[in-house]
Symmetry: C2
Subunit: 345 residues, 2 copies
């Protein structure tokens, strides 16, 4: 190799590295995202007064007309702890299931899983759920970390026995906890490792990882850092975000996720929701579906969702809840009509 | 020059370009930001019922205790068009001026300027205001584009005569208009050019440029593109953002600005405000000061503002307005106390 050959080779190598690095830095928006609508489940669990079963069904049926592809409709939890979910079976039995829409439910133990299975109508998907915050786990699921791991092993056997697919891991409180404070990044990454280990022991290839900002501690910078740290160790896992908007950071956090290429989000129409065991004094609420759809569509990211119909659902949610809900686009309006009117001017 | 010399030179040049390009792409958060609080002016102009002068003064005095360095307290506009501002002089006369805080006012014509000067208490700063949307200009200022340019020339002479400094340009509706629709990027950049030209004709070096999303059309991507396009042509101008939160994008837009190195923001405590002539049917509201302060401080960007006191001001604003205001952190709470409690656990 001559001196010139060597330098040319070096230049080629430098360019290649620069391009790879550029890709990692500039990794930009996904072309489209998929949204799991959790308004019915999150909303009906947190609203103070009991909502009539027929109203819940009406709301879910309206959501089915918006082209949303996944709707979490109920949770199967202890009705003494979450009275708003006591009618979960009746709700599921009553909804008109739209072909092509996956209707899902949430459970935290085997009894809940049995109830979900017994409906015979839901799309059942298992997930491996771990909690970096034991304090929250005790309050939310009444389990220690060790008990949660034991539970996961037991329930994964049940999933296998019943042919329920498991492709997803889930980390609650991935960005901070009202009871434990900041969650060190290393602990979050280690928890991801535990999720994958548990999966591997059951022969499961976990492809998706849901990071939940259960108590709204995240900022966009923390979203960036957390996803960055996880990707560095586990580059192939597809990340989804479950964001709460309690401190007004929801949409900004979603944007930070989009910038990192995240293409799966949970969201709640009208900004419904909140966790009953999160220990929030004030307003709760998840990131608002129609605000997220608005942002994405305006930025050229496809959501597949009919924004006008979604806004109608948000207004219906407000009517059912009987008080103002935090969503913004439902009040500020979509830009489509304004654009059309401006063109006619 | 030998072949090797040439290649070494080429490599040096490539590295330098790559570094410059990296700087432009990676240009990251500022270390600190400065905030102009506009809650009193924006809030009192949009609230339906008339607010007692004494309550306005109480609110401004409370804001003076938060370490905010700039507070826009009133506008001097036609009381027939904006009845909530009819008592502007009394408000200014009544406030306890905190040393080191600049109290500013807004005016749209010479009469307003005279009223502001007559108070003898305000920090007077001129600016060159242009509007890419003539439709809004007609509604807000009752002028055509040509008339606005003529007015700017006249008022700049007044500023000079009265020794009022002019360092700032201002572009309203820089991201879209309810009456004219999308504003082409080229039009925004051209309007910046006109601002600088007008300044140059009066011997003024315009150092700052305020971009206003008057009608909440912006998304984070548009913030990035607009600032990028302006910086490409005018790299040295310092940009400030005036963001409305009507469609829930305020904090995400501020984040996109921070990522581009923007270090000046207007904001309104509790998310007060909105333009009476913007043609919004639903909720208005500016980006919320305490939510912005929360995001910045959590991301390590200094604001110099006492967040706990600011939250108290937000609650006071809600009490004065007599209805819930859109701010989130005032309801969700700061993390400081939760962190302290978690450490004691």
């Amino acid at each position: 190799m001559t001196e010139v050959d060597f330098i040319v080779f070096l230049m080629y190598y430098m360019c290649k590295t620069a391009l790879l690095w550029r890709r990692s830095v500039m990794l930009d928006f996904p072309q489209s995202i998929s949204i799991t609508e959790e308004g019915p489940r999150e909303g009906f669990q947190i609203e103070k007064g009991l909502i009539a079963t027929a109203r819940k069904i009406q709301f879910i049926n309206a959501l089915s007309e918006t082209c949303l592809k996944r709707i979490q409709v109920v949770s199967f939890v202890d009705p003494r702890r979450v009275p708003g979910m006591a009618d979960a079976e009746e709700v599921v039995a009553g909804i008109d299931m739209e072909p092509g829409v996956a209707y899902t439910g949430l459970w935290l133990n085997e009894k809940g899983l049995e109830r979900a299975r017994a409906t015979g109508k839901l799309t059942l998907e298992g997930k491996i759920s771990l909690y970096p915050s034991e304090q929250f786990l005790l309050r939310n699921n009444n389990r220690t970390l060790a008990q949660q791991t034991q539970y996961m092993h037991r329930v994964l056997d049940s999933y296998k026995a019943h042919g329920i697919p498991v492709e997803r891991g889930s980390i609650s409180n991935a960005f901070g906890c009202n009871f434990e404070g900041d969650i060190p990044l290393a602990k979050v990454v280690a928890t991801v490792g535990e999720v994958l280990d548990i999966g591997a022991r059951h022969g499961l290839g976990i492809k998706e990882l849901s990071l939940a900002d259960t108590m709204a501690w995240a900022t966009p910078l923390q979203i960036r850092r957390t996803i960055g740290a996880i990707r560095e160790k586990y580059p192939d896992i597809r990340i989804s975000l479950h964001l709460h908007d309690t401190r007004g950071m929801g949409i900004a956090n979603a944007y930070a996720g989009l910038k990192m290429g995240v293409d799966m989000f949970d969201a709640c129409v009208a900004g419904l929701g909140g966790c009953p065991f999160a220990g929030h004094a004030g307003a709760a609420g998840n990131v608002c579906t129609e605000d997220l759809v608005f942002m994405c569509e305006e930025m050229g990211i496809r959501t597949g969702v009919d924004l006008e119909r979604l806004i109608e659902c948000a207004r219906l949610a407000e009517e059912i809840a009987g008080h103002p809900l935090p969503g913004s686009v439902m009040k500020g309006g979509n830009l489509t009509k304004l654009r059309r009117a401006a063109q006619l001017n």
